[in-house]
């Protein structure tokens, strides 16, 4: 049969059937090639779109969008998952040419959502970083101010504890900032500020006396009367201004010399009882001179004087002091000072060389007037600022 075909016996049949079949096969091959090429290209488009969306989501996650833009990240990831479903449906369809445009558009939307999430997360992280750094810096300043106050004002153990807790909270805030847990860092910084504020409020209450017009007028009157006495009697007199930490020697009513002094470590308060470590305020006299002692030379004052005794009795009667409280004594002007800090239990300490000079110029009976301040100073300003609710430092 084949032989006959080849020989041309059925040549007519050959041309009638085989040629169209060959043409059809060729056409099929061409169509298959074109379809395959288009399909492959569209598959590649879908994969590229999927890759871009995946990269964008990965970048958003790397920017900690989980923490800073969680809802937006979830939305972007949900969009990417929906796109993946659409992609797989197209890939597994019988028709070999997938609808890559629709899938690509879905992925592009997911990619845009991820990019928006990335930007949002970065913005929020930047804001949180800035806010946290500012909170820590502010807490640090507040604590530094409170530390400074603590050197001027003797803090009771409870308030000293508050200050210690403020330091600890600030330390925690710094660790959290370093670890990137910014929310916790800011929260602890705010805690630190609040604790420091309590200390400052206490300091302001203590310093309020220095802004009280009546008290200030009394201190000024004491000082003027002491100077007037010195002028009138032609003798030496001493005025100690606690806030300024200055002892001024007046001779015949004129300032002859000033000396830097260290005071009781609770100097800011007026002495009310034994053991309060406050330097008393009042008008005293030197009642004894000692040429040698544990703190070099010393000039003993007549604390408590009559006014102190009256005030002490009133305080005990009113319950401001416990019945067991004593009035205290042995307040001196002595040597071993010049330490640059307040360390005595209520005495006034000067440098030994200054003590030599002072010792030679005064004697028993010399008036010694001790006042909180003789002007509206930094402490008064601090108390007023705190009272008015504005931040401020005493020095």
């Amino acid at each position: 049969m084949i032989h006959k075909w080849v020989l041309g016996a059925n040549r007519q049949a050959f041309w009638r059937w085989c040629l169209p079949a060959a043409c059809a096969a060729l056409l099929l091959a061409v169509v298959s090639f074109v379809v395959h090429t288009i399909g492959s290209r569209r598959d590649a488009d879908m994969h590229a779109a999927a890759g871009a969306a995946t990269v964008a989501i990965r970048e958003a996650r790397a920017a900690d969008a989980v923490t800073w833009a969680p809802d937006e990240l979830l939305a972007a990831e949900a969009a990417a998952r929906r796109s993946l479903v659409a992609q797989r449906i197209e890939e597994t369809r019988l028709w070999p040419i997938p609808d890559s445009a629709r899938v690509g558009a879905d992925y592009a939307e997911a990619e845009r959502a991820a990019q928006r999430t990335l930007k949002l997360a970065r913005d929020r992280v930047a804001t949180a970083t800035r806010v946290t750094a500012a909170a820590i810096a502010q807490a640090s300043d507040d604590i530094a101010a409170s530390d400074q106050l603590a050197t001027s004002i003797r803090l009771d153990p409870a308030r000293r504890g508050l200050l210690a807790q403020a330091h600890l909270a600030l330390g925690e805030a710094r660790v959290h900032e370093r670890e990137g847990t910014l929310g916790r860092a800011a929260a602890r910084a705010y805690d630190a500020r609040e604790l420091a504020r309590l200390v400052r409020d206490h300091a302001a209450a203590v310093a309020a006396r220095y802004a009280d017009a009546e008290t200030l007028a009394r201190w000024r009157r004491w000082k003027e009367e002491t100077i007037a006495w010195s002028r009138r009697e032609g003798r030496a007199a001493i005025v100690v201004a606690k806030e300024a930490h200055l002892l001024t020697l007046f001779v015949r009513g004129e300032p002859a010399r000033t000396y830097k002094v260290d005071l009781g470590f609770n100097w800011i308060a007026d002495k009310a009882r034994a053991g309060d470590n406050a330097t008393p305020e009042g008008r005293y006299r030197i009642i004894s001179r000692r040429t040698a002692g544990p703190f070099y030379k010393a000039l003993l004052l007549d604390y408590p004087n009559a006014a102190d005794r009256v005030e002490f009795s009133r305080a005990r009667r009113n319950g401001d002091l416990p019945p067991s409280a004593g009035i205290g004594g042995a307040i001196e002007i002595h040597g071993e000072g010049g330490r640059g800090r307040d360390w005595t239990l209520g005495c006034v300490a000067v440098k030994n060389t200054d003590m030599d000079d002072l010792f030679a110029r005064v004697g028993v009976g010399t008036p010694v007037t001790i006042v909180g301040s003789d002007d509206f100073g930094a402490l008064a300003e601090f108390a007023v600022r705190q009272r008015d609710g504005r931040a401020g430092r005493p020095h």
Binding site: R81, V85, R88, T92, A150, A164, E172, R174, H176
Partner: protein, 196 residues
């Protein structure tokens, strides 16, 4: 002839039924969910975020494949089974990584607490030896208060470890270390000045 036609129809019917009724690999899918739930419970979100993300991505790919096959007349779950195996493995890795990450953070917190305790003891011992007198009594009392608060912070850090808040614990212990060091340095400086 009729019996042959019947046979062909029967075979075709069975083939269509088998192909059309293929069901998703439920056991494998459940295993994936279980492994990822375990990872989340183990704290992978905090301690092995990248591993958890990989597992969740793998689960997402599996879900997509399942949804793609759902709408088909002749679904095939061969690829879904492969994806389920990969997702389960990723979930199990996230569990392991979470445990390792947690242990690492816990160890860091424990080290910080141990160091803080040692420093606190050193500072307390040194403070006990500090020269007492009129000029230092107030400072010593203040420093004692500071150390007492540092000790409280260490106790709080230990409680935080108990509550598995390891980063909080580390922060508290580090802060207590700083407080103890500050006191120690202040006492050493004062003692050195005294010797001069």
């Amino acid at each position: 002839m009729r019996s042959k036609l019947g046979l062909v129809i029967f075979v075709l019917g069975v083939a269509v039924s088998v192909a059309g009724c293929a069901s998703p690999p439920k056991t494998e899918i459940d295993a994936v969910k279980t492994s990822i739930d375990q990872a989340v419970s183990a704290g992978a979100g905090q301690y092995a975020a990248d591993s958890l993300k990989s597992a969740q991505d793998a689960q997402g790919a599996l879900d997509a494949e399942l949804k793609a096959q759902e709408g088909k007349w002749f679904p095939s779950y061969t690829k879904a089974t492969e994806l389920a195996a990969a997702a389960k493995a990723a979930g199990e890795k996230a569990v392991t990584d979470a445990a390792a990450g947690k242990e690492k953070t816990k160890a860091e917190a424990a080290t910080a607490i141990t160091d803080a305790k040692a420093l606190l003891t050193e500072a307390q011992d040194l403070l006990a030896k500090a020269p007492k007198g009129k000029g230092s009594a107030a400072d010593i009392e203040a420093m004692k208060t500071d150390l007492a608060n540092a000790a409280t912070a260490i106790t709080d850090a230990e409680a935080a470890v108990g509550g598995e808040r390891f980063l909080d614990a580390k922060a508290k212990a580090e802060s207590a270390k700083t407080a103890a060091t500050t006191v120690k340095t202040a006492v050493e400086t004062a003692m050195a000045a005294k010797k001069k």
